[in-house]
């Protein structure tokens, strides 16, 4: 929105998720990759799909379908990677299909409807009314924030253990 305030236009990298049309600020997109071999991360929440090796750098893959509470990606449909960068953090967003880079103006902008709930409300920062469909724009900062895992504590067995050893 900062950008829009200046000249009224913004460029988005767009993609599909479970039939829906989504976009993310093109300035934070580092690259787009085909399906990549992934190492799953035990104990990580569902929306963290795993780790990929991006030319020697280890990048966390975030599944936006799970993040938005959509249906799981059907097996056989390989996810594409949209590698994004924000304040030194790098992550890869798993999407169904890449579309294009499009330029939208101020006239199509609308803030998301207040009836949106849950994670979607946090992650989506704008709606653009395009001719064919609606473009939902992700808030990059929120995507990183929501993905972050809170520090885990020792589990409940810790207390039992103390009793048995004493």
């Amino acid at each position: 929105m900062q950008l829009m305030a200046q000249n009224g236009v913004e460029r988005y990298c767009t993609f599909y998720l479970d039939g829906g049309y989504y976009g993310i600020d093109v300035a934070c997109v580092q690259e787009v990759l085909r399906h990549h071999v992934m190492t799953r991360i035990p104990l990580a929440p569902d929306h963290i799909s795993g780790l990929i090796n991006l030319r020697g750098q280890i990048v966390t893959a975030i599944d936006l379908r799970t993040g938005l509470g959509l249906e799981r990606r059907p097996s056989g449909l390989d996810a594409m990677n949209v590698v994004i960068r924000h304040e030194g953090d790098v992550a890869s967003l798993l999407v169904d299909e890449i579309d294009d880079v499009i330029t939208v103006g101020r006239e199509s902008y609308e803030s998301p409807p207040t009836s949106l709930t849950g994670k979607t409300r946090e992650l989506i920062r704008a709606v653009h009314k395009l001719e064919a469909n609606l473009l939902l724009v992700f808030d990059v900062e929120k995507v990183f924030e929501c993905a972050r895992i809170e520090r885990q504590r020792g589990n409940e067995r810790a207390t039992n253990e103390v009793h048995t050893t004493q």
Partner: protein, 751 residues
């Protein structure tokens, strides 16, 4: 910020570090023209550039300092300790201003009037301050005027004549001398600057990543070569192979820094401290150019500073005490660094009073680190180890220098955190030596790769104690339970067990009776040991540690990730994280006094009992040797033996190892080795060469007391003990090795 200003900040900071060193040098050899000239040059350069950028405060301060230095240099006046202190303070003030400039872009409002006044006063040659510091503000302004005009002058030696005090013709001789001296010095400096380039560390890191990827791509190409027949293709890949390896080595080297970059701060630390404590301390450094990864350099800075402060504060005595003890009044502190066996050794030794084990024990009892009974049983060596215990400090008085209770234990933890170790030796009245061993780099660590639930995981060797693999009957009997808590008896002690797959929720616990195999890695976390059960143990590897990134910081079970040979990502297990998750270790804050006592007890128990390798020489000749003294146990076929003259040798790890029959060597009867069975060899090394001792058969590994009945010790036998219900002689391989080395006039050399 302007690039030029940034450059100025970096350069000035570097030369200020150098300034500290040279000032202390100056204090030692007051009449060294060269040293004075170099200090003068440093201050002058900062002044000139500050004037150029319009940093008036910086310029004023440097100008006052320069005037004082000019006087010292040209009049040959002896610098007093007060002058040196004032000049050091000047360095600190300049640093502070530079920092403000870096943060805010402006000089800030800090007032250095007092310092300027002191410098002025010293310059004028007065002993006590005259008038209030504010009075000096006016004459200062005058000198600033001159300073600006001087600042544009490129040749520092020349403008000394312009300094107000040097106008007399008597000074001109001295000026010309220093001029030539500073000119030659400047020439050598310039040539160094021409051959170095400043590079951003993140650029080096990304180069490192890319080279890592190149190595993977190379490996894949090499696999094709195995099936290829085109000779051109084969030679090209061979070249690619060589170049890649060299490139990798080269990039690794760029991340290395000499340890001297940390040490350069120490002479100043020692000087300031010894002045405060009214002690006389000289510091000697050796091996400053020993290179280390920059991350390690960062990590050892604080622990080393703490050790040095401790040595000056507690280790070295006051001059009077030293003289009465028959030692020179100046205490001596020695720092020495060198590479050894893939590690960096740092030795810090002082010739102070040494550590009194009795005092340490008394203090430890007072601080409830150990009980009185424990203290009475402790050997001197064990007592010295107590200085690393948490909540322990030997200083009777709490000074602001050291002795706040958070001392050596923090040093030890910090060093251990990076995979290093620290060890103390001390003899009363002679001095104390601390030996720090650290790995060359943090980025590459040795690790064990294990498999669990179809995934590969890496376990750092630092926390790995041993591997246990049981098969068949032994595997199904291995696990017992105490109220559902699984344990394993490892050499008579209960070891709690943790299933990796279960903890990570990737696999169910499968009883070993089903699989027939039990693979266990014995890990250590916070002084607790536990057995981590995995599906399979793969290999030892050097792995490149990569951070997990901000998103995954919260996953306490993993310490990072690495890229395996096939390009896949593998997670690195954090032993402490797993131990906490499974309840083996509770959160650190909960560790109470009883807990500390217990771990101290265990520590002590571990040190009074040792692990021995039990073997047989011939019929019923049972012998043992401490496991720690042994480098490896090897098996050789009879056909592997070759002869050099009458000596039996084998090829071993790229060199030649001589084999000696232990029975012959000890002069006892031993059975001839069975020609159908492989030879059992205990390999011993002193770090340079190997020697193999032939024994009959290896029996077991047992725990037995370290203290032996030494009434029956003779060449190479240190004593006897009862092991597994039988009297067993304990041999000392080290002394045997030394005897053997003396016997063979021409040693078997390593290639």
């Amino acid at each position: 910020m302007d690039d030029l200003v940034r450059e100025f900040l970096i350069e000035s900071r570097e030369s200020l570090d150098q300034l500290d060193l040279t000032l202390i040098e100056l204090e030692k050899q007051s009449h060294d023209v060269e040293t004075l000239a170099s200090i003068f040059r440093t201050v002058h350069t900062i002044k000139g550039t500050a004037g150029f950028f319009g940093f008036t405060m910086l310029e004023e301060l440097t100008h006052v300092g320069e005037t004082l230095l000019g006087k010292l240099r040209d009049e040959g006046a002896e610098p007093t300790p007060e002058m040196i202190s004032a000049l050091l303070e000047l360095g600190d003030a300049l640093r502070a201003i530079l920092e403000t400039i870096e943060n805010t872009g402006a000089e800030g409002a800090a007032d250095y009037g007092d310092l300027a006044a002191t410098l002025e006063r010293l310059h004028a040659g007065e002993d006590a301050p005259e008038g209030s510091p504010d009075d000096s503000a006016e004459p200062e302004n005058e000198t600033v005027q001159e300073g600006v005009s001087l600042g544009s002058d490129a040749e520092p030696g020349a403008d000394s004549a312009n300094a107000p005090e040097d106008e007399g013709s008597s000074a001109s001789n001295a000026t010309s001398v220093t001029e030539t001296a500073s000119k030659t010095a400047e020439k050598t400096q310039a040539s160094v600057a021409e051959t170095t380039v400043r590079v951003d560390v993140s650029l080096l890191d990304s180069l490192m990543n890319q080279v890592g990827e190149l190595v993977l791509a190379r490996n894949q190409i090499l696999q094709y070569t195995a099936t290829a027949s085109d000779p051109d293709f084969i030679t090209t890949t061979q070249r690619l192979n060589l170049i890649t390896s060299e490139l990798q080595e080269g990039v690794m080297k760029t991340r290395m820094q000499p340890i001297g970059s940390v040490w350069s701060k120490f002479p100043r630390v020692v000087r300031d401290l010894s002045r405060t404590l009214q002690k006389d301390v000289s510091i000697e450094m050796e091996g400053e150019d020993t290179e280390l990864d920059r991350t390690i350099i960062e990590a050892i800075k604080d622990p080393l500073t703490h050790i040095i402060r401790n040595a000056v504060d507690h280790g070295l005595e006051r001059p009077a005490d030293r003289l009465s003890a028959g030692k020179p009044s100046t205490g001596h502190l020695r720092l020495c660094a060198f590479h050894e066996g893939g590690q960096v050794n740092i030795v810090i030794s002082d010739d102070g009073a040494g550590i009194d084990p009795e005092k340490v024990k008394a203090k430890a009892v007072e601080r409830h680190v150990i009980s009185e009974q424990q203290a009475s049983r402790m050997s001197d060596r064990e007592a010295l180890g107590l200085i690393f215990a948490p909540g322990f400090s030997t200083a009777s008085a709490v000074t602001n220098i050291s002795g706040r209770g958070v001392g050596m234990d923090v040093v030890k933890t910090n060093i251990e955190k990076i995979g290093g170790s620290v060890d103390v030796q001390s003899s009363r009245g002679v001095g104390t030596t601390l030996r720090v061993k650290i790995p060359l780099t943090l980025a590459i660590i040795p690790a064990l790769v294990v498999e669990c639930g179809g995934e590969s995981f890496a376990i750092p060797q630092v926390c790995l104690l041993e591997l246990v693999r049981l098969e068949g009957e032994a595997a199904s009997r291995a696990i017992e339970t105490i109220h559902d808590i699984p344990v394993h008896r490892l050499r008579g002690k209960l070891l709690p067990l943790v299933w990796l797959g279960e903890q990570l929720k990737i696999a169910k616990r499968t009883p070993p009776s089903e699989t027939g195999v039990l693979c266990m890695a014995v890990l250590q976390a916070e002084n607790r040991q536990f057995g981590l059960i995995v599906d399979d143990i793969r290999d030892n590897q050097e792995i490149v540690v990569k951070p997990l990134g901000n998103i995954l910081q919260g996953l306490s079970c993993f310490a990072g990730a690495t890229i395996m040979g096939d390009g896949r990502v593998a997670l690195i297990i954090d032993a402490l994280g797993i131990a906490m998750k499974s309840g083996i270790v509770t959160e650190t804050g909960e560790a109470d006094a009883a807990e500390i006592l217990k771990s101290a007890d265990e520590e002590r128990e571990r040190s009074i009992s040792s692990t021995y390798l039990l073997f047989e020489l011939g019929e019923s000749k049972r012998m043992a040797t401490p496991l720690t003294s042994l480098s490896r146990i090897e098996e050789f076929e009879h056909s592997a033996i070759e002869y050099v003259g009458s000596r039996r040798v084998v090829q071993y790890r790229g060199s030649i190892m001589e084999l000696l029959s232990l029975a012959d060597f000890l002069g006892v009867d031993g059975a001839e080795p069975d020609p159908d069975l492989p030879l059992q060899v205990l390999a011993y090394t002193d770090g340079e060469r190997f020697l193999g001792f032939l024994v009959g058969s290896i029996l077991d590994i047992v725990e037995a007391p370290t203290e032996l009945d030494s009434s029956d010790c003779a060449n190479g036998i240190t004593g006897v003990a009862i092991m597994q219900g039988k009297v067993t002689q304990v041999v000392d391989l080290q002394s045997l090795f030394e005897t053997a080395a003396r016997r063979t006039q021409e040693p078997v050399t390593c290639s």
